[in-house]
């Protein structure tokens, strides 16, 4: 965001290190360079003009189910939480912010087999993401 509160570049998947570069194909230094060029010289990358598509009705609903589930989990209403985590995942089965985020909250491993199953299905579907699209990952 710039000094006038404008979004200069919408969200994109970027990394602070190269620890997952082999998996993601995204190298952190590329993004560091973009940020340095913008901060020091005001240069804005071409992809900054990308308009992020709005959430679908199912994606909105999934986030509400997730939020309800997270609250229920904090209140020790485990069955309620599980039911709404399930409904959220049914609505958006490839959404990391829903499905992967629920894994550790449900006692799963966000780096385990269930994650790699999700990641495989996500890649197969063309890496759908609400942000600047990637051609390298």
């Amino acid at each position: 965001m710039d000094e006038e509160d404008r979004i200069v570049r919408p969200n994109a998947a970027e990394f602070g290190t190269d620890i997952f570069a082999e998996l993601t194909g995204i190298h952190c230094e590329d993004h560091f360079e973009l940020v340095r060029a913008w901060v020091s010289d005001g240069q804005v990358p071409e992809d900054a003009s990308h308009t992020v598509a709005d959430l679908t009705g199912d994606e909105v609903k999934a986030r509400l189910h997730f939020r309800l589930a997270a609250h229920a989990r904090r209140a020790s209403l485990t069955d309620v939480a599980d039911a709404h985590f399930d409904q959220a995942a049914e609505l958006t089965p490839l959404d990391f912010t829903v499905v992967r985020a629920a894994m550790p909250l449900r006692g799963g491993n966000p780096f385990g087999e269930e994650f790699f199953d999700l990641y495989g299905a996500y890649k197969e579907a063309g890496s759908p993401y609400h942000g600047i699209p990637r051609t390298t990952a």
Binding site: M1, N11, T51, V52, D54, R63, L64, A72, P110
Partner: protein, 140 residues
């Protein structure tokens, strides 16, 4: 649940609050005072109002109930998506689509406030007038 009964309703919206509600066929009815606390909108003669802004309501019978205000109808009128679990007494109300579209197409980020590791709140607008890089990540 087959008829009106009184039990708590927890509403997860901008903040999370619990109020006493009358439940009519799985629809929670709250007092007009509670509505203001839960969704930050008041039920007035002009319709649904927040400060000087009012949304007219053509058919008030959709909102008004013998026991108070139908909060699901209010959410619908305000174009705020909602998911309810009547058995658990939980209702989550999201932001209207217009807020998202304003940010996506108008390229204006909405302000927000989050606590730091010590619990002290910080708002995005605290750094207004400066360049800002917003990083969202999960530690898993």
């Amino acid at each position: 649940m087959t008829g009106p009964g009184r039990r708590p309703l927890t509403v997860i919206a901008g903040q999370t609050s619990t109020v006493e509600a009358v439940w009519d066929d799985q629809r929670p009815i709250v007092s007009a005072e509670a509505l203001g606390e839960l969704l930050d909108w008041e039920w007035r003669a002009e319709g649904l109002c927040r400060e000087t802004v009012c949304v007219p309501v053509a058919d008030r019978s959709h909102v008004e109930h013998d026991e108070g205000i139908d909060i699901l109808s209010v959410a619908e009128i305000l174009d705020r998506p909602a998911v309810i679990d009547p058995d658990a007494g939980l209702l989550v109300v999201g932001q209207p689509a217009t807020d998202r579209l304003e940010a996506l197409h108008g390229r204006r980020a909405p302000d927000f406030t989050l606590p730091d590791l010590t619990g002290s709140p910080h708002s995005f607008s605290d750094w207004a007038g400066r360049k800002r890089l917003l990083v969202a990540f999960a530690s898993w």
